[in-house]
C-alpha cells in the first residue's frame, strides 16, 4: 500500500503537467466563438465583449505555459491535497449487490468540494492579469468559500454575491467566507437565489472591469468560462481514469455525477469522452418530482434558451421568463446548465436523469451509515442514481461516481427535515 502511495505521489506532478497541456490538442469544442453545436456562445452586453476576449486570450496563452502549469500543479498537490483518492466502496457495493462502486473523493479536497480546483486556476490567472479584486457568485456557498479561500491566500480583495434566500439556508458557509476576509453581499433581486447572485456579479464586473476578475464557479456563462472551468475541473477525470486503470486494470463501465451548472460532472466526464465503452450519466435535481414543476432539471424537463451569457437548456415559462427552481440542495438549485452538457445530451453521449429530494436524502443516509462518509446533498443525487442502477448491473461492472463534496455544510438542513435542532 505504502509503495503504491509513494509511487503515485512521485508521479503526480509530471502526470498532471503533461495532461493539462495535452488537453488543448484534442479540443474540438467549443469552436472559436465558444459554441458547442448550437449551445454556448457569448451573449452579453457590449461592455463585456472585449474583457471576455482578453480573458480568453490570457487563458489560451497560459494553458500551455510551463510556469503556469507548474504553479497550478504544485498548488493542487500541496494546497488542495490532490490527487484525491478513488475509493472502492466495498460495503455499499455488497449492500446493493451489483456493480462495483468507486467513489472519486473530491470531498477530501481543501474546502470540502471540487470547487477549489477551478478557483485555484482562475485566481492564478487573475494574479497574472494584474487584477487586485475578485468577485464570485455562490449558491450553496461552496464556490464562495473556495473563492474566498484562494483570495485570502493570494492577498486579493474578494466580494461574494449570494442570494438572500441562500444566505438564510447556508449560515455556516456565510460565516466561513467572512472569516476568510471576503465580503458577502446579499442579493435581494428576483428570486434571491443563485441565478440572481450571478446577475449581480455580472453587474459588478461590468462596473469594475478594470481591476476585477470574475471567478465563475461552474461551466456556464459566456465564452471562455464553460471551456476554461471544464479544463480546470478535468483534473478529476484525468486522475480517475488513471486510478481506475491502476486499481482495477481497466476503465470503468459507467460514470455518474450530479449536475447543477455541471462543473463536477464535466470534470469527471471530459477525459473519458473519447472512450466509447464508458457510459456516462448526469443526475439533475428532480426536487419534489419532475411532474410537480418544483425541480431544477433543465436538461430533463426544460428547453433551449439564452441566459447568463450562453445558449443552453433552461427552466423557463412559455414567455421565456426564467422560472424559480427547487431542490433540497442549494448547489443544484439553478435554472440553467453548462452548454457542453446541452450539447452532450443532444449528441446522445451522456444520459441525463433526475433524482428527487427524498431519493437524495435516502442516499445521504445510506452512504453515511454504510461507508462512514457524509456526502454533500448535491453529490447524494448521484449516489441515489447509483442505488437504482447498480443492482441491475452484473458484479464485474465498474461504476465511478463523483463524490463532489462533503456533507458537513448540510447537517443543519438534514437535521431540520427530521425535526432535530442542532
Amino acid at each position: 500500500m505504502s509503495e503504491h502511495t509513494d509511487s503515485r505521489q512521485k508521479q503526480a506532478v509530471p502526470h498532471l503537467t503533461s495532461s493539462f497541456a495535452m488537453s488543448s490538442a484534442k479540443d474540438v469544442l467549443p469552436d472559436a466563438n465558444g459554441h458547442f453545436g448550437i449551445y454556448g456562445g457569448r451573449f452579453v452586453a457590449e461592455t463585456l465583449m472585449v474583457p471576455l476576449e482578453e480573458l480568453r486570450q490570457t487563458y489560451e496563452s497560459y494553458r500551455n505555459d510551463p510556469d503556469f502549469i507548474g504553479e497550478l500543479d504544485t498548488d493542487l498537490q500541496q494546497y488542495v491535497g490532490r490527487p484525491s483518492p478513488l475509493y472502492f466502496a466495498q460495503r455499499w457495493t455488497q449492500h446493493l449487490g451489483g456493480a462495483q462502486i468507486y467513489l472519486k473523493r473530491e470531498d477530501l479536497n481543501h474546502t470540502g468540494a471540487h470547487k477549489v480546483n477551478n478557483t485555484i486556476g482562475q485566481a492564478l490567472l487573475a494574479k497574472r492579469m494584474g487584477k487586485t479584486r475578485i468577485i464570485a457568485e455562490t449558491g450553496a456557498g461552496q464556490h464562495g468559500v473556495a473563492s474566498a479561500t484562494v483570495a485570502a491566500r493570494l492577498g486579493l480583495e474578494c466580494v461574494v454575491y449570494m442570494g438572500a434566500e441562500d444566505i438564510k439556508r447556508q449560515t455556516i458557509n456565510v460565516y466561513r467566507m467572512r472569516l476568510l476576509g471576503a465580503e458577502v453581499r446579499a442579493v435581494e433581486s428576483g428570486s434571491k437565489t443563485l441565478k440572481d447572485a450571478l446577475n449581480e456579479a455580472m453587474r459588478d464586473w461590468v462596473t469594475n472591469v478594470d481591476n476585477t476578475f470574475y471567478i465563475i464557479g461552474t461551466v456556464a456563462g459566456p465564452h471562455p468560462y464553460p471551456a476554461m472551468v471544464r479544463d480546470f475541473q478535468a483534473i478529476i477525470g484525468r486522475e480517475a481514469r488513471q486510478q481506475c486503470q491502476q486499481q482495477t486494470g481497466r476503465l470503468p463501465d459507467t460514470l455518474v455525477a450530479c449536475v447543477g451548472g455541471g462543473s463536477n460532472a464535466i470534470g469527471l466526464f471530459y477525459p473519458f469522452l473519447q472512450d466509447a465503452g464508458v457510459s456516462m450519466v448526469g443526475v439533475e435535481a428532480a426536487g419534489d418530482g419532475l411532474d410537480t414543476g418544483r425541480h431544477a432539471a433543465p436538461l430533463c424537463a426544460g428547453r433551449s434558451g439564452v441566459l447568463h451569457g450562453n445558449r443552453t437548456y433552461l427552466m423557463q415559462d412559455s414567455d421565456g421568463q426564467i422560472i424559480e427552481t427547487h431542490s433540497i440542495s442549494a448547489g443544484l438549485d439553478y435554472p440553467g446548465v453548462g452548454p457542453e452538457h446541452a450539447w452532450l445530451k443532444d449528441a446522445g453521449r451522456v444520459e441525463y436523469v433526475a433524482i428527487t429530494d427524498a431519493e437524495a436524502l435516502a442516499a445521504f443516509h445510506d452512504l453515511t451509515k454504510i461507508e462512514g462518509i457524509i456526502p454533500a446533498l448535491e453529490s447524494s443525487h448521484a449516489l441515489a442514481y447509483v442505488t437504482k442502477a447498480a443492482p441491475n448491473m452484473s458484479q464485474d461492472k465498474i461504476i465511478v461516481v463523483n463524490l463532489s463534496g462533503r456533507g458537513d455544510k448540510d447537517i443543519h438542513t438534514v437535521a431540520a427535515l427530521e425535526g432535530i435542532r442542532v
Binding site: 451573449f43 465583449m49 414567455d319 421565456g320
Partner: protein
Amino acid sequence: MSRISTCFKDLHLEGRKALIPYITAGDPDPGDTVPLAHAFVKAGADIIELGVPFSDPMADGPVIQRASERALAQHINLPQVLAMVREFRQQDSKTPVVLMGYLNPIEAMGYQVFAQAAAQAGVDGILVVDMPPEEAKALVTEITQFEMDPIFLIAPTTSKERIKIICDIARGYVYYVSLKGVTGAATLDVASVAHNIAQIRNETDLPIGVGFGIKDAESAKTIAGVADAVVVGSAIIQKIEQQMSRRSNMIEEAAALIASMRRAMDAEINKVTS
C-alpha cells in the same frame, strides 16, 4: 426610408437632437404604458424606447430591475408589449418605437414569428442588450427582412475593430453606453464620451445616441452637445416610482421631466447655431 432614419433626417435639418425616453412596458400598470408614450411625444420626445420586461435583466441597475419586476408581477409578455405598440400606433403613425430587452423572450417566441408580429404592430427598431453582433446574424436577418432597424450598443471598452463590426451590422442609430456599468449608474464623464463619439464617427454615418447616466435637463443638454440623440431611462422610472402612490400626477410629472430636457437641449442647439 425607415421611420427612424426619417426622424433623424428631419431633426438634422432643424439642427436639433433626438430625445429618446425609455420606459418598461407594463410599468407600473399595463394601462399606463401607451398614455405615458403619448405624453412623452407631446413633451418633445422623438423616439420611444419600450423595454420588454425580463426576469434576469443582467445589464440593468436596480431602478430598471424594479420596473421589470413590477411589469412581470402583472405577467406582461412579449405579445402584450406588441399589443401596446399597436395601440400607440392608432394615434401616432410618426414617432418611431424601439423595443429594448433581452434575447430569451424573443427566442421563446421564435425569431421569425417575433419579427413579423413586431413589424405588423408598428415597431421600428430592435435593441437586444445581450446579443452582440457575433450572435446576431439570424435575428438581424429576420428584423431587416421586415424592414425594422437592428440597433446595437457600443461601450467604452469597445475596440476600434469592434466599432467597425458593430456599425456594419447596425441600422437606424447606434447606442453609445456612456460608462462602464449598468443602467442608472454613476455620473457622466463628458470629455471621454465626446472623445469616444469622435472615434465612432470615423467609422460610421449612423446617428449616435448616448445613454446610461443621463439624469436631468443639465446632463441631457451636455450630451446633446456631442451626440445625435439623448437616451434617458432610469431617471424617468424613478420619477414614475415617486409618483406611483399619487397616480393622478404620475404621467404629468414624468412628461415634465422630458419637457425640461427638451427645452434644455433645444436651448443649447440655438445657442450653438446663433
